[in-house]
Symmetry: C2
Subunit: 377 residues, 2 copies
């Protein structure tokens, strides 16, 4: 179980297959985010139809509601949410730092207050693994601390704690049907990142996650880190760039050797009336679309583009109909998943490098990644 | 076009086929409501899968937003909302009286202010027909005035105006690919209802709608009116009971000769966490469902019941996930559509009358119809 086979490589970009108990992941792959055991506004049938294979869900949210023990009693997350394919859960670390109301970090763990009701809770590496074992995803994450990338001293402290916690997660893990990935931290400092990559790569993780990116650094800084990490990471393990990203980030990430991505961007944009397109990101609220008989993107084969006009989608948006969020989520997720699949095909047939400039050009208008803008949507 | 053939009759209950340009309607039939050119939270693909044939949309809402002329330019309502089957539009009358901010009625028409932006508008019988011809539904409605059923004097005035407006609608109508139904009014007064039925039945409408019910009268009053009307309406025309209703209303309505129903109840209840079931109406917010591994209704064949547990649905409801509204809408619409289909089958095979008591018993706990309660949900 959890074998990773590279089928083709061109430059740093790889096309592979990662085996999991709920099916093979053809990498590179983009995973929709189903924070609360549902990819917002979509049924599992719709997710399957738009081409999703791997779905991410959030440990922090599910621990608070409905509770990991309840999910376990109900037969685990696959059965609970009726997603038969592979699932990945994060460790809860990032959400504790970004969502919880107050938090106190010590070397043993983090005490925090729920963003839902203010109740007090404590996560440790052992607790995070226990929760993730209750949830039962195919891929689980070591508990980590994500720092401000521009604060070198804090990045060092957080990285060292992340390393100690990684070892504790490996020790705590009991289930052998889950692949535990270690997480590299170190902010945007090359020395810290190199040290973190070497340390995490030295531990017996079947996969390696890159944390602490897409959290405020520039695109150039992110790419420099990815280039650097490529020199330290073994080819034999899948690499997961957490929480990324835009079409441009996916193209650059794959070119630099990343295998797995996830991001809330496509579904969050959808619920705020925005759609990826080869003309750039469209805001469907815009009056210019009121009589536009074209689909969002006439090169797109998703249900939304095969069925509805921009004029109709704009009507739904203006009338605040919930169906708008569903139809735009279908399109945005399909767009990213198909883009990544097209890149995989081109790695396999040797045309990847020649196609990258055209892809970057095509998706340029969708490149905005500012996390604050995204979060404020 | 618009032929109505009765295939079987048992007591007053009839099973028929009504031909429309976008397909045959097998009556009795229940129509989901797509107020703003969308049945809330559902794609046309989901509507088709759950068994819907006829969809209702609202003239008042579409006139205000996105505008009937825009819908016409986009190829009409079928193409705009991508519903390939039959569509029915109401006349806008009921919404002008129930939703618009202020309204001034005279014999020629109604001047009202939009509930969206307070802008001033005027509907006349001719205008309602013009709007409905722009929208292009298969079945359209004469412009009517709905009175307070307990105010006899007003009911008489409104009925007489409705009659004059019915004649004007017939004169105004231009398209021959739309079936214009006349509407019976008269509140709960037997004499007024009898007079209205006789008058509307005397005009060359291919179908007859029963308006002004389910607006505050008792269930007994509604049934008495339906019994009375049966004596005045020709068998040869389909009968449409507007805005009704609960499972109990459908059973009693079909037994009294009604062929077509529509109601927002199943989708509105869904968005407020309630589901029809053979155990009575369930509120999925209820903590008793938190670990309930059963579907909403283990006799139901809808996608929701075939896929998800009450525990999962409760989690979605508690977590305020929009998917809850989608999944409960699928179930509630499927439940009413299949109930009506089962009644049709039993009319055809002669078992209808023997099955009515069991249906009434089975659906008793879902019978609540108080329109104020529904509207306040």
């Amino acid at each position: 179980m959890f074998s990773f086979e590279i089928k083709a490589q061109t430059g740093a970009a790889r096309a592979g297959v990662f085996q999991t108990p709920h099916g093979n992941l053809e990498t590179p792959i983009f995973a929709p985010v189903g924070t609360q055991a549902t990819v917002k506004t979509l049924t599992p049938a719709q997710l399957d139809e738009l081409g999703a294979t791997l779905v991410l869900s959030n440990t922090y949210h599910l621990y608070l509601r409905p509770g990991d023990e309840l999910v376990s009693e109900m037969g685990g997350l696959h059965k609970f949410m009726q997603w038969p394919g592979p699932i990945l859960t994060d460790s809860g670390g990032y959400q504790v730092f970004s969502l919880a109301q107050t938090r106190k970090i010590d070397d043993d763990g983090v005490t925090f207050k729920s963003h839902i009701d203010g109740s007090s809770h404590r996560f440790t590496p052992e607790k995070s693994i226990q929760i993730q074992e209750n949830l039962g995803a195919d891929i689980i994450m070591a508990f980590d601390e994500c720092s401000d990338p521009n604060d070198k001293a804090y990045s060092k402290t957080a990285m060292e704690r992340t390393h100690r916690w990684a070892e504790r997660c490996l020790t705590a893990k009991r289930r052998d049907d889950q692949a535990l990935f270690g997480i590299i931290q170190g902010g945007i400092d090359p020395e810290l990142r190199a040290a973190s990559a070497q340390f995490i790569a030295s531990l017996p993780f079947p996969g390696i996650a890159i944390g602490g990116l897409s959290v405020g650094e520039t695109k150039e800084e992110m790419q420099n880190i990815l280039k650097l990490l490529g020199g330290f990471l073994p080819d034999s393990k899948p690499r997961y760039l957490m929480g990324v990203g835009t079409p441009e980030d996916l193209i650059n990430g794959i070119a630099l050797g990343v295998d797995i991505f996830d991001c809330v961007l496509p579904t969050r944009l959808a619920r705020h009336n925005a759609a990826f397109s080869s003309e750039g990101r469209l805001n469907l609220m815009n009056a210019t679309f009121s009589k536009d008989q074209r689909p969002i993107d006439d090169t797109c084969s998703c249900y939304t583009c095969q069925t509805f006009t921009r004029a109709y989608l704009r009507h739904l948006v203006v009338a605040k109909e919930l169906l708008a969020g569903t139809l735009l989520s279908i399109h945005n997720l399909h767009a990213l998943i198909q883009l990544v699949k097209a890149m995989r095909v081109s790695i396999l047939d040797g045309t990847f490098e020649s196609k990258v400039p055209a892809w970057l050009q095509q998706w340029k208008g969708n490149a905005e990644r500012d996390i604050n803008n995204i979060n404020n949507l």
